[in-house]
């Protein structure tokens, strides 16, 4: 798959998924509305990953849930608020042309077949399993740090769907390569790395932690070098397509992730600083870069850093 030639400069194969370009919406960003998905797709995004969906609706935490820290860096503890799989399956029921990956979150392996039964017949190209939300107990990182639970969840999901699944990992208390290995050995088709990194902000004047949940996840520019490292480490060791995520804000960042080993790249918080031309600017930047280097298809740069 790596380096495989394509007719089109930017089209990529991400495991069994074929995308017109390597950009994807990161989960939790603008991720609950079919109308918004269509707008983003019309604005040239490669694919959508939805907000993480749970069996039942979740209200999430009180605000502040999202705190800009400056320099394209953000802290959030949304608390996985989502409309639940029932309402969400209605949301995307009329999806015709958008390549949608549904992000799923659950507190036990039993949650996942329930959700898949609602979603599997819809126009959905795959699932991303969120095992790495750093600030919701019993649903995120606590599961991602438990290899047996990870394995059980993935094996259960694979028995209930033939669609490709990516497992989203984060900086928890297990080595990223080890937890990815567990995921792949249990049947994951792809790995998404990384989720936000556990972090915190205190307002010094009021002496109060700003997030209502006190602790949240760091995203944006600050975590890019960490994400690049994780993608490099995982893709160098494991024979699995990796989807890069964390701090992408320019076409150069997309290239950096792909050279590190990512087959596609998710874009999240930066969308708060961008407009409808964002993905066009990314794709034309990528095309110019490839032309300058004389590269026919962007897949050829995937993992070039593994030489070092």
């Amino acid at each position: 798959m790596k380096g495989e030639k394509q007719s089109d400069t930017l089209s990529v194969n991400v495991g069994p998924m074929r995308l017109r370009n390597p950009t994807m919406l990161a989960s939790g960003i603008l991720g609950i509305s079919q109308d918004i998905f269509e707008r983003l797709y019309n604005n040239n995004i490669g694919a959508i990953v939805t907000k993480s969906i749970s069996v039942d609706p979740m209200k999430g935490y009180a605000n502040p849930t999202i705190v800009p820290l400056g320099n394209k860096t953000y802290l959030n503890a949304v608390g996985l608020s989502n409309p639940g799989v029932f309402a969400f399956s209605h949301e995307i029921m009329r999806n015709k042309f958008v390549p949608i990956v549904v992000s799923l979150v659950g507190s036990s392996e039993k949650d996942f077949p329930k959700m898949i039964s609602f979603l599997d017949s819809l126009n959905v190209i795959g699932y991303e399993i969120n095992l790495s939300c750093p600030h919701v107990s019993k649903m995120g990182m606590e599961i991602g740090d438990d290899p047996e639970m990870v394995s059980l969840i993935i094996r259960t999901i694979k028995r209930h769907t033939r669609k490709p699944i990516s497992v989203k990992i984060g900086i928890g208390s297990m080595d990223v390569v080890e937890i990815s290995r567990v995921a792949v050995e249990s049947g994951a088709d792809m790995i998404t790395a990384i989720n936000t990194v556990r972090a915190m902000k205190i307002d010094v004047q009021s002496m109060i932690p700003v997030l209502s949940n006190v602790i949240g996840g760091l995203s944006g520019k600050a975590i890019k070098p960490i994400g690049i490292r994780c993608v490099y480490e995982i893709s160098k060791v494991l024979n699995v397509p990796v989807i890069g995520c964390g701090g992408v804000s320019s076409w150069e960042d997309v290239v950096e992730y792909m050279i590190a080993g990512a087959s596609a790249v998710q874009i999240g918080s930066i969308l708060g600083n961008s407009d409808d031309t964002f993905f066009n600017r990314i794709t034309s930047g990528l095309k110019r870069y490839l032309a300058r280097k004389g590269i026919k298809n962007i897949g050829e740069i995937v993992g070039l850093a593994h030489r070092y």
Binding site: S33, P57, N63, P68, Y74, V78, D203
Partner: protein, 274 residues
């Protein structure tokens, strides 16, 4: 160094004004807020309680901004109970703004409740451009009429006029703000209608305007978490109210299936307006 409007800043409340028994204006020093355009909002942090979007109110004091809050749930009640010396956190101002064409000669502003806040800011700008301006203040009952005195003062001297409507007829015209609108557009020709308030009211105004081919600009509200186009919770159809709005024009409003019909709850579920 350029100031990042996204970085939360603390502001000390320097003055409060009780507008009604459940509506209060809080004034605070905030240069960025003082320069906000009509239609823009601040994300207001009530430490340890909530962070909520609030339209920026006009403040007479240089370098100061204000918000006018109506007691509602947890966040607005806590804000309402704040007093001089208390601190709030601020981000923004965010969002787009009402636009005014210099070719306008007479415009109609229709506000309900705290929806009047952005319209007052707008009215100030409009009168500065020597455009005549009629402001309809809609309220359920006499006690809930706000900003009337202030509006009458600066819309005097031929700059414009103020119409008050109350649902129960306890003050001004009996009826809704849209009833007031029907009456005044029968009497005068307007170039544009600006509105902010309960969505059902705005929807009505939009429909009346459509029949009359009157252009509308409406400032909408949706549930907001980030205020900056990240979370998606404020979406209405394909638009984000925090980033593409809060102000939408007739063209956009007419393409919205959800305007006046449906909104999203805190968890993103779509609910119908009753």
């Amino acid at each position: 160094m350029p100031i990042d409007i996204d970085l939360m800043r603390l502001a000390r409340i320097s003055e409060t004004v009780m507008e009604t028994s459940s509506v209060k204006t809080l004034v605070f020093k905030d240069r960025l807020g003082s320069k906000a355009s009509a239609g823009q909002f601040l994300m207001v942090w009530i430490p340890r309680i909530e962070e909520i979007p609030m339209s920026v109110m006009v403040s007479r004091r240089e370098g100061h901004a204000a918000v006018t809050v109506k007691k509602h749930g947890k966040g607005t009640t806590a804000l309402f109970e704040m007093d001089v010396g208390d601190f709030i956190g601020l981000r923004g101002p965010y969002g787009n703004r009402f636009t005014i064409s210099t070719e306008f000669t007479n415009v109609l502003l229709i506000g309900g409740g705290t929806g009047l806040v952005p319209l007052l800011r707008l009215a100030v700008n409009i009168t500065r451009l020597n455009i005549r301006c009629t402001l309809i203040i809609g309220a359920r009952t006499k006690d809930e009429v706000i900003f009337e005195e202030y509006a009458r003062k600066f819309l005097s001297d031929g700059k414009g006029k103020v119409i008050v409507t109350t649902d129960d007829g306890s003050y001004g015209l009996k009826g809704t703000a849209s009833d007031g609108m029907v009456k005044t557009i029968g009497e005068e020709r307007y170039d544009c209608v600006y509105t902010c308030g309960p969505e059902i009211m705005m929807k009505k105004i939009f429909e009346i305007s459509k029949e009359q081919s009157l252009p509308v600009q409406a400032s909408l509200e949706r549930y907001m978490k980030c205020g900056i186009g990240i979370c998606g919770s404020c979406c209405i159809d394909r638009w984000l109210v925090c980033r593409d709005g809060t102000v939408f024009d007739s063209n956009q409003l007419s393409r919205m299936k959800e305007f006046g019909m449906a909104f999203r709850d805190k968890d993103g579920q779509k609910l119908q307006y009753k």
